[in-house]
């Protein structure tokens, strides 16, 4: 009876000692880990930073400045800000129309297999290649893959005569400025690379812009 009592009395002492040991071990391990990290961090190549202050360069070559001016687009030009979703029609520096548009979403589409598409709008300078009224879209393979279906064998199944709206202007390589069924998304980057416009803006651009007009996309 007495021995049993001793055993019962001794157990909390053993438990407390073990807990202390564990706590000390944990603290020790934490100190080691923190030391390793700190020593490594500070031994890791330190970063030196300086302000970039280039010396005064050569004076601009006036001939080069003149030729640079000659490169500027003259007359009518379309400027598209893909990030902000704005399209501007500009003539000799005067903005004739400022419209909401949608540009490429930047989405990456991966087909089960090898093919990958990136839905970016091309940047830089392009020209209007041709214009169409009541354009018909021949849906490419990605339009089906995106929907989770295999591209159909019958070309008739690719025909879509509603999605592009009433007009389109080709920028080459399959990229168009066209209409949209989803006008509430104008201004957002949601397209597959084309530029979408609202109905009235599209009609204005179609009537104002000629084939060959420069389109500047950024």
């Amino acid at each position: 009876m007495i021995e049993a009592t001793r055993e019962i009395d001794a157990s909390p002492e053993i438990g407390g000692s073990a807990r202390r040991t564990w706590i000390l071990a944990a603290i020790g391990a934490a100190v080691v880990v923190v030391s390793v990290i700190l020593i490594g961090f500070f031994a890791g190549n330190p970063v030196a930073v300086a302000t970039w202050s280039p010396p005064e360069g050569t004076a601009p070559d006036p001939n080069a400045v003149g030729r640079l001016l000659q490169q500027n687009p003259k007359g009518l030009v379309v400027i598209i800000d893909t990030a902000r979703g704005r399209l501007r029609v500009v003539r000799d520096g005067v903005v004739l129309r400022d419209a909401a548009c949608s540009a490429g979403s930047g989405t990456i589409l991966r087909e089960p297999g090898d093919r990958v598409w990136i839905f970016d709008t091309p940047l830089g300078e392009r020209r209007v290649m041709f214009k169409q009224r009541n354009p018909v879209w021949t849906k490419p393979d990605w339009a089906f893959v995106e929907e989770g279906t295999l591209p159909p064998a019958d070309p008739a199944d690719r025909r879509d005569d509603v999605s592009l709206g009433d007009y389109s202007l080709s920028l080459g390589d399959g990229y168009l400025i066209h209409g949209t069924l989803f006008q509430t998304l104008l201004g957002q980057p949601v397209t597959h690379g084309c530029i979408r416009l609202g109905d009235e803006d599209l009609e204005y651009v179609w009537r104002t812009v000629r084939v060959g007009t420069r389109v500047l996309l950024y």
């Binding site: 890791g44 970063v47 300086a50 640079l68 490169q71 400027i79 903005v95 930047g106 500047l216």
Partner: protein, 229 residues
Amino acid sequence: MCGVRFASVLACCCISAGVAGAGAEAAQDDPASLELALARRPALYLVIGRDGRWLSVRVRGLELDSVPLSGVRVARQGVGVGPDELAELSSPQVWRVTEAPAENWRRVVAPEVLVPFTDDEDQPEPAAGIAPSPTPPPPRPDRYTVTTDSGWRLAVAPSVEAAAPVGWWRRVVRGWRRIVGDPEPALPPTLVVIVADPDDARRLVHLFSPGTAVLLGGDEAVASGLPGS
């Protein structure tokens, strides 16, 4: 006599060509000449002002967008590197982006299986005005780094700290490798473009694609396509 005259004319031509060539070479050092070479192509290019206060987006010499900068810094990681070693970046010069920023801001669509297409005549045509609700894409980054053909990296960030050339954990690993005598090769130096507004960095990320030219130390644009300009 005819031969002497021909030799004289030839000599004059050679001297003239030599002088013109030397002039062209000298002129290439100025920002306008460097920009002219970029403006002759239809591609976009970026210009960082020589005062480090603006970054301009241009094509054909026309400014399409301009972003105010808080400054431009030069950062190099390495033992014993001081400001003197950092000030060696000459200007003007043109870099080309060789590797774009990480593309984790892009949404990825990857159907696991494709089912056969069925021409369902009963399927309604998409109705005008009813917008789909696409999954919002991941937010665009306000800090990123690209590699260039100059051997330098170019970082765009709201602060120098945000554009640390090496991540925190990798610095620890590099430090320990250095302590045990197995240092990693030196990292390329980084030019940090500090944007005043993080939204500007988000707006520009897609412009830093491979091949994009960046003119360091450029002049103000000769013409502007900005609204209200």
